[in-house]
Amino acid sequence: MTTTLWDIAEGQAAILTGYTDRLEQRYLTRLTELGFHPGERVVCMHAPRFGAPRVFRVSNSVFSIEDTIARCIRATRIEAGAAAPTRSTAKSPVTSTVDALHADPARTAAAAP
C-alpha cells in the first residue's frame, strides 16, 4: 500500500516510490544524493514521540527527517513476512555506466583539456 515515509512505523521497511509535488526540486536532488531515490529500501529505525523527526536507514546511512519532508516522500510498505526486495549485486539495469563512459572515445576526446 502506498503511503508516505512519515507513516512508516518504527521497525517497518518500505520501498521508496517517488515524491509528491510539494517537495522542492533542490530538496529532491539532495534527498536523491543522500540515497532516498525511488526503488530504494528504507527502514524506520526510530519514531520518537511528540512529532520529533524520525530516523530512517537507507543503504548503510541513517538520517533523521522531519515530518514536512518525510510526508513528501512516497513509499510502499513491505509487509511483515513478505520477501523484502534486496539490492542486487549484479550490474543495474542501467547499462554499466562506467563501462559505457570509458568506452566512449568521443566523450573522452571532447573533454580532454
Binding site: T29, A52, R57, T97, L101, R107
Partner: protein, 610 residues
C-alpha cells in the same frame, strides 16, 4: 610548491585525516563568504607541499546561498593553476552516499584537468568486521587512484604521502571519461558501484540502532539529555571558572607590577583602567570559549549532538528555530560569546541567524549582578507558602524566564514575518555512528577557536574599552565621573530615562555597562560615592532605597537589562561570525528600542499596581 585540496562529505573523517597529515599545524585560509573555516596546513612528510581542508559538503549542487558560496569557491580553486590535486575522501563503510559526491568531484576534476585521488577512509572499521575493500578494482572502474586508509589508525597514510610527493600541477589527467557525464549517469553509477564494492551494513548499523534505542527512548533518552545538558552547562560555569580566575589574577598581578612604575598619572590610569582592564574584559571569556568548544566537540565527535538536535527539534521549530539551536541557546545562559561560536554547527544559515537573535536574550551570567542588586533593593527577603518559596528567588526566576520568553517570541515573529527560502534548509540530519572522540584534534580546535576570538573580536572590544575610558577620564583626569564627558553624555540622554523615573546617574551607569553588563553595579556605586559596590551590594542597596527610586523604576531597569544588547563583546563577535556589520548594528538598535519600550510599559504598569 605543491597544493592539494581535501574535500568530502560530513562525517567522512576528513578533519581527522587532515590533522594527521598536517600534524595539527594549520591556519585558517581565507575564502570569501564562507562562515566555516577553510584550514590550510603544510604536509608533515611531503616537503614544500600544503593541503587545504574544504568544508564538508554532501554535494556540488548547492541548496542554499551559503552552500553556493562554498561551491563557487571550489570551482574557483579548480581554476587555480597552483592546485596540483584534489583528494576526495569517501567513507568506505557508507559507499553509496560517498561515491555520489566523489563522482561529482571526479567529473569536475576531469573538466578542469586536475588530478584526483579518492581516499577510501575508515578502512579500519571494515577490518574490524573482517571485510575489505577491493581498491584496485574500484580504481579501475573509476579511472582514478583509490587509496584505502584510516585517518584514525594511520593505516595507508605512507602510500598517500608518497603519492602526494609525486604530484605535479602541470600534469593534467589523461582520462576525461566523466567530464560529460550527466547527474543521472553519476547517480546510477554510484548505486551500482556501492552495491558492488560497499560493505554489508547490517552489522555496522546494528550497534548504532541499539545505542539509539537508549538515547532516543521517550523516557530514558530525555533523562540522559537533561543530564548531558546539565554537564555542558556546568562546564561553562564551573570548569572554566578556575582558568577565568587565574587569568584575572594574572592580569591583576601584572598590573600591580607595571602600573606603579609609571610616573605620569594619566598614563598610569590609562594602563591600569583601560589597558589592563580592557585586556581582562575579553581575555576572561577565553576559558569559557575553550571549554564549551571542547564539550560541544566531544558531543559532535561522539555522534550525540545529532541525537540532541533531534530531541529538541520539534519544540524549537514552533519558534522558527531548529534542534541544533538548543546547545547555543543553553550556552547563552552562561555567556553569549561561546554561544555564538557554538551556533556555527547550525547548517541552515537562516536558522543560524534566528539563533543569533535569540542568544543575546538568554539571561547570561553578566546580568546576574545587576539582577541581584535590583531584586535585593526592591523585593523583600520574605517567603511564601510556609517558607517554600522565597520572593527574591521567585523574582530571579521570573526575570530569567522573561528573557528566554522574549527570545522565543522574537524568533517566532521574525521567522514568520520574514522569509528567505534560499537561506533555509529542512531538517535532514545524518545520524553518524557513535565513536570515541579523538582528543588531540578536539583540543587543537578549541584552542584555535579561543585564538580566533582574541585576534578577531578582541581588537574591537579593546578599542571600545579605551574609548569609554577616555570619555570617563577626561577632561578632569578621573577626579569626578559625574563631571567627565561620560557624565555629560549621561546628562544628555537623561531625558530618555526620566520617563521611567531614572536620573542621569543611572544613565551614566547604563552607558558604562556597554563594556560589560556587570559594570553597571560598580559605576552606580561610584555615582553614589560608594567604593567596591561590585564586591558588597548592601551599602548601595541602602543608598538606592534612600534616593527614593520607585519600585516601578527598579522593575523597569530589570526589564531593560533583560532585553537590551549592551555588550560590546557580543556585538564584536556577531560582526565577525555573521560577516556583516549590519546585523550587530540592527540588533543593537532593535533590542535597545524594544528594551526601552518594555521598560517604560513596566514602569507605568508596576507604579499603577503599587
Amino acid at each position: 610548491m605543491t597544493t592539494a585540496v581535501l574535500i568530502g562529505s560530513p562525517n567522512s573523517g576528513k578533519s581527522l585525516l587532515f590533522n594527521r597529515l598536517t600534524g595539527l599545524h594549520q591556519k585558517v585560509a581565507n575564502f570569501p563568504g564562507i562562515t566555516v573555516d577553510v584550514t590550510e596546513g603544510a604536509l608533515l612528510h611531503v616537503p614544500d607541499a600544503r593541503l587545504l581542508d574544504f568544508p564538508g559538503t554532501y554535494s556540488l549542487h548547492a541548496i542554499s546561498r551559503e552552500e553556493q558560496i562554498a561551491v563557487d569557491n571550489f570551482h574557483r580553486l579548480m581554476a587555480d593553476p597552483e592546485l596540483s590535486a584534489v583528494l576526495c575522501i569517501i567513507d568506505s563503510t557508507r559507499m553509496e552516499k560517498s561515491l555520489h559526491f566523489a563522482l561529482q568531484v571526479i567529473r569536475e576534476c576531469h573538466r578542469s584537468g586536475k588530478q584526483v585521488v579518492v581516499l577510501a577512509n575508515m578502512i579500519d572499521v571494515l577490518h574490524e568486521y573482517d571485510m575489505n575493500l577491493d581498491a584496485p578494482a574500484l580504481s579501475a572502474r573509476l579511472g582514478v587512484p583509490v587509496l584505502p586508509l584510516s585517518g584514525r589508525t594511520g593505516e595507508g597514510l605512507p602510500a598517500l604521502e608518497q603519492a602526494l610527493g609525486t604530484l605535479d600541477a602541470s600534469a593534467a589527467q589523461a582520462t576525461a571519461s566523466f567530464a560529460e557525464a550527466s547527474d543521472t549517469e553519476l547517480h546510477d553509477l554510484a548505486v551500482e558501484l556501492a552495491a558492488e564494492y560497499g560493505m554489508n551494513g547490517e552489522v555496522l548499523v546494528r550497534n548504532q540502532t541499539r545505542i539509539d534505542a537508549f538515547f532516543l527512548h521517550s523516557v530514558f533518552g530525555g533523562f540522559v539529555f537533561v543530564a548531558i545538558m546539565y554537564l555542558l552547562f556546568q562546564s561553562i560555569f564551573t570548569w572554566a571558572a578556575p582558568a577565568m580566575d587565574a587569568i584575572q589574577g594574572s592580569i591583576g598581578w601584572l598590573a600591580d607590577q607595571v602600573v606603579p612604575l609609571i610616573g605620569w598619572a594619566p598614563l598610569r590610569d590609562f594602563m591600569s583602567d583601560a589597558v589592563f582592564s580592557g585586556l581582562g574584559a575579553f581575555l576572561v571569556f577565553v576559558p569559557q570559549i575553550f571549554v564549551l568548544t571542547l564539550v560541544v566537540g566531544i558531543m559532535e565527535d561522539s555522534g550525540y549532538m545529532a541525537r540532541a538536535a533531534l530531541i529538541c527539534h520539534r519544540p524549537l521549530r514552533a519558534f522558527g528555530l531548529t534542534g541544533k539551536s538548543f546547545v547555543p541557546m543553553l550556552s547563552g545562559v552562561a555567556c553569549a560569546i561561546p554561544a555564538i561560536y557554538a551556533a556555527r554547527s547550525i547548517d541552515s544559515p537562516r536558522k543560524r541567524f534566528l539563533t543569533y537573535l535569540a542568544i543575546p536574550l538568554m539571561p547570561c551570567s553578566a546580568r546576574l549582578p545587576v539582577y541581584t542588586l535590583l531584586i535585593a533593593t526592591f523585593i523583600p527577603a520574605d517567603t511564601a507558602l510556609g517558607g517554600l518559596i522565597g520572593l527574591q528567588g521567585l523574582a530571579m526566576f521570573l526575570v530569567y524566564f522573561f528573557g528566554m520568553a522574549v527570545g522565543m517570541i522574537v524568533t517566532s515573529i521574525v521567522s514568520r514575518v520574514t522569509s528567505d527560502p534560499d537561506q533555509d534548509l529542512p531538517f535532514i540530519l545524518e545520524m553518524p555512528p557513535y565513536r570515541l572522540p579523538s582528543w588531540r584534534p578536539l583540543l587543537r580546535h578549541a584552542w584555535n577557536r579561543a585564538k580566533h576570538f582574541i585576534t578577531k573580536a578582541g581588537v574591537v572590544i579593546f578599542w571600545v574599552t579605551v574609548t569609554v575610558w577616555f570619555l570617563g577620564y577626561f577632561p578632569n583626569y578621573g577626579a569626578d565621573l559625574g563631571q567627565s564627558y561620560l557624565g555629560n553624555l549621561g546628562r544628555l540622554i537623561d531625558p530618555l530615562f526620566q520617563p521611567m523615573g531614572l536620573d542621569w546617574r543611572y544613565a551614566v551607569a547604563i552607558l558604562s555597562s556597554f563594556l560589560a553588563r556587570e559594570v553597571f553595579v560598580g559605576t552606580l556605586g561610584t555615582m553614589f560615592g560608594i567604593e567596591g559596590a561590585d564586591e558588597n551590594f548592601v551599602p548601595l542597596v541602602d543608598q538606592i532605597r534612600d534616593s527614593g527610586l520607585t519600585i516601578g523604576s527598579g522593575f523597569a531597569l530589570l526589564v531593560f537589562f533583560a532585553v537590551a544588547l549592551q555588550c560590546v563583546s557580543t556585538l564584536a563577535l556577531l560582526r565577525t561570525e555573521s560577516g556583516s556589520r549590519r546585523l550587530p548594528a540592527q540588533m543593537f538598535a532593535a533590542y535597545g528600542a524594544l528594551a526601552y519600550v518594555l521598560a517604560l510599559i513596566t514602569y507605568h504598569l508596576v507604579n499603577a499596581l503599587a
